[in-house]
């Protein structure tokens, strides 16, 4: 159970203009700028949930993750995770969580991953039996096998990420924080990582909190989405709710006999050339079937397809709506 109430976090950053003169000035007198990274963040996540945490760069995603994983101390608000305050009972807390920062490595660069795993076993004081079982299972699920014997620096990014995720799960954490786990991965690795995350969530009941810019991750993995912007939670709901609420727009592509479409009310023609047209409608104003019958009445249709907004477009329209 994760519970955040009115979490606030500010950063003070030194402000400095460019150029030599400014640099000299900064030596004697420093100006600070306060950045409100998190202004008022509250949410509750139950055990075994899989939650996507999205928002544009600098919205406060990483800060929230760092507070929940005990790295940062917030300036205000309360946070309880499985009954503990992360930054106060750090060692007890981190024993139950796993953290993967997609852009950083927790493995020792110059030695094989197996050596790192061994050390992690000792750091977490994992029982030999449990360790062997977990490692065998992770090796099978993530297809690690030979990778474990290769020095980490010689692994490809996808191979390394599989090792990273395995490393963060050796101690069977109850909660897994994934900060952009699929960043920079190729399609095959992405799918492997997603399948694995889903399996862990289903079989072990691990709570997963995922930040990502890859909307396919969100679509493939999470039931629930939290949208953060300007340091606040702007939306909290299921992906299908979001779609239903925010995506009444449909794109209709038609192929027809003739040159040009006549103008229609409540239909916006985006493209129209050589008998192929792309039209958008708002289903709140004009339902799809009416639009189709209107089109069919005025032209001779050869082909027609209707598509909804992609998750990416949805997120862009959300960002626009909240002006973040």
């Amino acid at each position: 159970m994760i519970e955040l109430r009115h979490i606030r976090k500010e950063f003070r950053v030194a402000k400095r203009g460019s150029g030599f003169g400014q640099a000299v000035k900064a030596l004697f007198h420093k100006e600070y700028e306060t950045i409100h990274a998190l202004q008022d963040v509250s949410f509750t996540i139950g055990d075994g949930e899989m939650v996507g945490y999205i928002g544009p760069n600098g919205a406060g995603k990483s800060s929230t993750i760092k507070i929940m994983s005990g790295i940062l101390t917030p300036d205000g608000g309360t946070c309880r995770i499985n009954g503990r305050v992360p930054w106060k009972e750090r060692t007890a807390h981190v024993r139950e969580i796993g953290v993967v920062f997609g852009q950083r490595s927790q493995l020792w660069w110059d030695v094989p991953a197996a050596d790192s795993f061994d050390l992690i076993r000792d750091i977490y004081r994992i029982e030999d039996d449990a360790y062997r079982r977990t490692l065998a299972r992770l090796t099978e699920l993530l297809d690690l096998g030979e990778l474990l014997k290769t020095p980490v620096r010689q692994l490809s990014l996808g191979q390394r990420m599989r090792c990273e995720i395995a490393a963060s799960l050796l101690h069977s954490p109850k909660i897994l924080f994934l900060d952009e786990p699929t960043i920079g991965l190729d399609a095959v690795s992405k799918i492997a990582v997603r399948d694995f995350i889903r399996a862990i969530n289903r079989e072990n009941g691990t709570t997963v909190i995922l930040t990502t810019h890859d909307m396919q991750d969100i679509e493939a993995l999470t039931e629930r989405v939290l949208l953060i912007g300007r340091g606040r939670i702007l939306l909290d709901g299921s992906l299908s709710d979001l779609k239903a609420r925010h995506s009444t727009r449909r794109t209709i592509r038609v192929a027809y006999e003739g040159d040009r479409l006549p103008p229609f009310e409540q239909m916006k023609i985006l493209k129209d050339r050589d008998g192929h047209a792309e039209i958008t409608i708002d289903t709140a104003v004009l339902p799809v079937q009416e639009a189709i019958s209107l089109l069919a009445a005025k032209t001779e249709l050869r082909d027609l397809s209707v598509s909804e907004e992609t998750v990416e477009e949805l997120v862009v329209s959300l960002y626009q709506e909240f002006a973040i």
């Binding site: 030596l27 920062f101 950083r104 110059d110 050596d115 790192s116």
Partner: protein, 258 residues
């Protein structure tokens, strides 16, 4: 403790991945400190004593300070290179592991090439010990050992203090080098040669004299004060304010963007 050795083993293994580089750096460290040694010997070419201390006595002082410094540079390297730990985000990772922060910072980095310097200081010591004319009783040997341990403690504490500062700024932290790298150089001579003010500063503010000057007086028989023998242990107290400051910094840690 078992875990400490495991960390040490994995770090040594990592550094041994580049064997040539490792041994050349170690040899370099060994040679570089010769310049300081030469400085001492040139000085004694002209003057036969410095503030009442003979060449061999100064060499003992020199080698113990150097050895203490090399030990802390090797084993407290994590604190010495702390700004890098912050910048690379390694500290975030340390904080997500269920072990003490100090322990993990210590084990994040050990620079075994610094043992090249240690080797040199041991060589110098081997030369100075029989030449010094000191009657090496058990007490005197204990005194020398305590000087070494106390010295390593003070240098390590300074690194911890330095790490504490780096939570707030990384600009202008070079002044700390006066007390660490600088002390390695001018700590070669008993601190009294720099005058009373300096001696007081390094007794009460940064307790370098506690492991260097006073025990040396006892060691060389210039003072019969038995209490001087245990002063290096007092130097350990210096760790407390340094550690407190480090915790204070950690509480205000801002992390870096990802």
């Amino acid at each position: 403790m078992k875990l400490y050795w495991k960390y040490a083993a994995i770090l040594l293994k990592s550094q041994m991945q580049y064997k040539a580089s490792f041994f050349m750096t170690a040899a370099g460290q060994f040679l570089v400190s010769f310049s300081a040694l030469l400085g001492v010997s040139f000085l004694f070419d002209r003057f036969h004593t410095v503030d009442g201390f003979t060449f061999s006595e100064v060499l003992i002082c020199f080698s113990i300070v150097l050895a203490a410094f090399s030990l802390s540079e090797c084993f407290a390297r994590g604190f010495d290179a702390f700004p890098r730990l912050i910048q690379s985000g390694k500290l975030d990772q340390i904080l997500t592991r269920p072990r003490g922060v100090v322990f993990q910072v210590l084990t994040s980095n050990m620079d075994f090439t610094r043992l090249g310097r240690l080797a040199q200081s041991i060589l110098v010591l081997c030369y100075a010990v029989p030449h010094s004319g000191i009657d090496w009783t058990a007490e005197k040997i204990l005194c020398a050992c305590l000087m070494l341990i106390g010295g390593a403690a003070v240098f390590s504490s300074l690194f911890v203090l330095y790490a504490g500062f780096s939570f707030f700024t990384i600009e202008g932290l070079e002044f700390m080098n006066i007390f660490t790298d600088g002390m390695r150089e001018f700590g070669a001579y008993p601190l009294s040669v720099y005058g009373g003010g300096v001696l007081k500063f390094f007794t009460f503010v940064i307790p370098v004299a506690l492991f260097q000057y006073y025990p040396l007086l006892y060691l060389t028989g210039k003072s019969q004060e038995r209490g001087f023998l245990f002063l290096p242990l007092l130097a350990f107290v210096f760790f407390l304010p340094c550690y407190a400051f480090f915790r204070f910094g950690l509480h205000h840690y801002q992390s870096t963007g990802s």
